[in-house]
């Protein structure tokens, strides 16, 4: 069985159905996804202007995954992910201004400009990064879940990783302990079809990644990650399982990234027609928008107005991020250790 592509089967069915979401929530989903899209597009643009340095991985095309899933979280649940992390921060309610300011390496960024695109955190929002080593967030997130169980606090950890990370050994070490101790872990595999330039079928002996917990007795489900309603529905079920004390659950989100792996990726490992097909037929924002319009929950004018609001909000974020000061030089040696005087390296 090869990979199923969108526009065939599952998704064309999805487009036909009416939205089952309450109006307010449906519109919120649309807005959250459109905001992430615009944020990421502007990131790409200001990266191209040299205002964002180093590596920058965009989430364009995958918006339904994090928006649909984070809607199932409750207060105190933790979130952790890899380096394609801007959207997760926005979905956790972090301030776009400060996320953008971190991207431009400024003092007002979430990490005072010391972390950059791949390493951002907000303890206040229970967002634990932002990790640059492929797969490292999986045991870390399992540890967050361990702490929930230790404290018996009924919170769960949302642990996001990609199809590439799904082949790392530490992921399976984590699965084993998570099930052995029934830790409250929701493992979300964001299968965007390519680990950098290597397609899932060229890297994985078993391409249905929802089965990756089978030998640990962890249940999993494969979900149309381009359909925010499908994501939300699957997320609610999975979260209920995890929160009830039954241990971890794996959600494989079939999604697609439109842009290259990072900004300097020429993406020659796939045909433009493939990207265009996904974009034209199963774009998560267009998909929901079509339903909202068809169901009369929103009209074109309201959509245009919302798009303008989003555009303005992101422009403000860019303005904020470009006007914010660089970290002062005194910041160089700060935050290495907690109250220990940082007298290392003599």
């Amino acid at each position: 069985m090869g990979l199923q592509f969108y526009g065939e089967g599952m998704v064309s069915k999805a487009t036909k159905k009416k939205t089952k979401l309450p109006k307010q929530q449906a519109i919120e989903f649309w807005t959250d996804m459109a905001l992430i899209r615009r944020f990421e597009e502007r990131c790409g643009q200001i990266y191209a202007m040299g205002q964002i340095g180093g590596f920058c991985h965009l989430y364009i095309g995958q918006e339904a995954v994090v928006v649909g899933l984070q809607a199932t979280a409750q207060d105190g649940d933790q979130v952790i992910t890899g380096y394609r992390d801007h959207a997760h921060m926005l979905a956790c309610g972090m301030d776009p201004n400060r996320v953008m300011a971190e991207l431009t390496g400024r003092m007002d960024g979430y990490s005072k400009g010391k972390g950059g695109s791949m390493h951002m955190f907000s303890i206040e929002k229970n967002f634990f990064g932002g990790h640059g080593i492929v797969g490292a967030q999986v045991p870390l997130g399992t540890g967050l879940a361990f702490a929930n169980k230790y404290r018996d606090n009924n919170n769960i950890a949302f642990i996001y990783f990609g199809d590439g990370a799904a082949n790392q050994g530490q992921v399976y070490e984590s699965f084993n302990m998570a099930k052995l101790w029934n830790l409250p872990c929701l493992y979300v595999i964001e299968n965007n079809r390519y680990a950098m330039g290597t397609s899932v079928s060229r890297a994985s002996s078993q391409t249905d990644l929802s089965h990756r917990g089978a030998s640990f007795d962890i249940p999993g489900a494969q979900v149309d990650g381009m359909d925010v309603e499908a994501v939300y529905a699957a997320g609610k079920k999975a979260v209920a399982h995890v929160r009830s004390g039954k241990g971890p659950f794996i959600l494989e989100m079939l999604t697609y990234r439109y842009r290259g792996h990072s900004m300097s990726d020429p993406a020659k490992y796939r045909k433009r027609e493939e990207v265009d097909k996904v974009r034209n037929e199963t774009d998560p924002i267009k998909l929901l928008e079509a339903r909202l319009l068809a169901d009369g929950l929103i009209d074109e004018g309201q959509i245009a107005a919302r798009r303008n609001d989003i555009k303005e909000k992101i422009e403000q974020a860019v303005d904020f991020a470009l006007a914010a000061p660089l970290p002062p030089e005194t910041e160089l040696m700060v935050d290495i250790l907690a109250d220990s005087g940082d007298t290392h390296g003599r």
């Binding site: 597009e41 643009q45 990266y47 191209a48 202007m49 040299g50 205002q51 340095g53 180093g54 933790q78 952790i80 960024g109 979430y110 990490s111 005072k112 972390g115 390493h119 955190f121 303890i123 634990f128 990064g129 640059g132 490292a136 045991p139 870390l140 399992t142 540890g143 967050l144 361990f146 702490a147 929930n148 230790y150 050994g169 530490q170 070490e173 984590s174 084993n176 302990m177 842009r259 290259g260 900004m263 300097s264 020429p266 993406a267 433009r272 974009r279 422009e315 470009l322 030089e329 160089l332 700060v334 250790l337 907690a338 109250d339 220990s340 005087g341 007298t343 290392h344 390296g345 003599r346």
Partner: protein
């Protein structure tokens, strides 16, 4: 407002690019996400996407071999039905969001990227602080070892029991402290350091793990991020090589990468250093590996009493601590205070023996060897001062330098290999900060630069020996009988 499309910087090193091909024509309507052109960068051909809906108003550069510098407008996109007049307006508007007032910073950031790509370590540091080459402006105030109450009782116990007592006392004191590792609970520890803990604290806080070092370390770090205080036992630090990514990249760096938001109070502990007849993969000193890493604290106790006071300090410290115990010292007996708040200072070396003629610096098992060497040297009339570093990061160079200023001679001793060693760093620092105090070249006694052999005779040849320390000290003191 019409939008200028600029030549994009698509890699940290790109300064200009060529337009390989336009995929749109003037007057063509485009949507956000449509590919406008293919740009040839210094590395590859990359697609340039529109990020707004609009009409291509003007293409300013045709495709061709010309190099166009980054951030120069290459086309103008008309938005919301604007007419051609908007093109001139956009090109003349230097305050548009894509204008050139950012060019200066762009250049700096490009250089930063270049420095990172070529592996230059500090080229990107904004501050011209050669902090690695200068003494800090203010030396840290030395922290005195604590003074124990006069009625403190002492017990002669082995290091493994002292470590066990430290763990038990800290677990009683703080419910967030727990220990996890292979065979720590029901088996009571591969080296019996956790004896009795499972019985007292139960399986919630004394946790047997599968043999999965990498994820044990990562899980522990995650639990520490969430505010718990894990003690992760490695059966030996040889196995921690499977986990070193989580120790270095997650535990040590996250506080810094989060701008100080994320705490990571965790102790990684277990036996380190040479063992007996277990050959290359089970016999290695990892001290310098961890001492290299900013964001870690690295401790290595030399006797049972030190082990207790330092482990309690490690558990109470808010930072990630790598706690290197010496397997051959687990049975070492010393008089250990029975006192719940016996917490030794981190970052302060200990004078294990005072002397005026030569300074011997070591840690862990090397301290006992240095003390034995000092006895032998005393017979030759040489009074050696022995310094137990205790903490390899932060390193108490003040104590070392004060001693060298007194003795004018220095010998470093460690089981680790000589290249990029703890002693190498100490020697470099002493010659930099106290060059004039030295009367002789700094001597080093290290493990021999070879994987540890199994055969008993070869193993002995690979290990530092007391006789070598004595000889090195005599060389430093220019005593003739050490010439060989």
């Amino acid at each position: 407002m019409a939008v200028k499309i600029l030549m994009p910087a698509l890699s940290p090193t790109m300064e200009s690019g060529k337009i390989a091909q336009w995929l749109v024509k003037e007057n063509e309507t485009v949507s956000s996400g449509d590919i406008l052109a293919e740009i040839e960068t210094d590395k590859a051909i990359v697609e340039l996407e529109a990020i707004d809906d609009g009409v291509v108003g003007k293409i300013l550069f045709e495709a061709g071999p010309d190099q166009i510098e980054v951030n120069r407008p290459i086309a103008v996109l008309l938005i919301d039905g604007e007419d051609a007049n908007a093109i001139e307006a956009a090109l003349n508007d230097t305050n548009a969001d894509t204008d050139s007032n950012t060019a200066a910073e762009t250049e700096t950031e490009t250089e930063t990227g270049l420095a990172q790509e070529t592996g230059a370590e500090t080229g990107a540091a904004p501050a011209e602080t050669d902090s690695s080459n200068q003494p800090p402006l203010a030396a840290p105030e030395p922290v005195a070892d604590m003074v124990l109450p006069a009625d403190t009782s002492y017990r002669d116990i082995a290091m493994r029991e002292a470590l066990r007592d430290a763990l038990a006392e800290e677990m009683r004191r703080d419910a967030d402290v727990f220990i996890m590792g292979e065979e720590v609970a029901e088996y009571e520890g591969a080296y019996k350091v956790t004896q009795g803990l499972f019985k007292e604290f139960g399986g919630k806080r004394v946790i047997d793990t599968p043999i999965t070092e990498h994820a044990i370390a990562g899980l522990g770090v995650g639990a520490a991020f969430a505010g718990l205080k894990p003690v992760v036992e490695f059966m030996t630090f040889n196995f921690a090589m499977q986990a070193i990514d989580q120790i270095v990249n997650s535990a040590a760096k996250t506080r810094y990468m989060s701008g100080g938001q994320v705490n990571c109070s965790i102790v990684f502990r277990g036996p380190n250093g040479v063992a007996s007849r277990v050959a290359a993969q089970h016999s290695q000193d990892y001290s310098s590996w961890y001492a290299h890493i900013p964001g870690l604290i690295v401790l290595s106790p030399a006797n049972a009493s030190e082990a207790k006071g330092l482990l309690k300090a490690a558990i109470r410290d808010p930072n990630p601590v790598v706690f290197l115990e010496h397997e051959l010292l687990y049975g070492d007996i010393a008089s250990v205070p029975d006192y719940d708040d016996f917490v030794l200072p981190i970052g302060r070396a200990r004078i294990a023996r005072a002397g005026a003629d030569v300074t011997l610096v070591s840690y862990a098992r090397g301290v006992a060897m240095a003390l034995q060497a000092a006895e032998e040297l005393a017979e030759s009339g040489v009074q050696a001062e022995v310094i137990d570093l205790r903490s390899l990061r932060p390193l108490d160079m003040d104590t070392v330098i004060a001693s060298v200023e007194k003795t004018h001679r220095l010998v470093t001793i460690e089981e680790g290999w000589p290249v990029c060693s703890v002693g190498g760093h100490i020697a470099a620092t002493v010659q930099r900060l106290a060059f004039d105090a030295l009367d002789a070249p700094i001597e080093a006694v290290n493990g021999v630069d070879v994987p540890m052999p199994y055969a008993a005779n070869l193993e002995q040849l690979a290990l530092p020996q007391v006789a070598q320390i004595v000889a090195a000290a005599k060389r430093a003191a220019y005593l003739t009988d050490a010439a060989e």
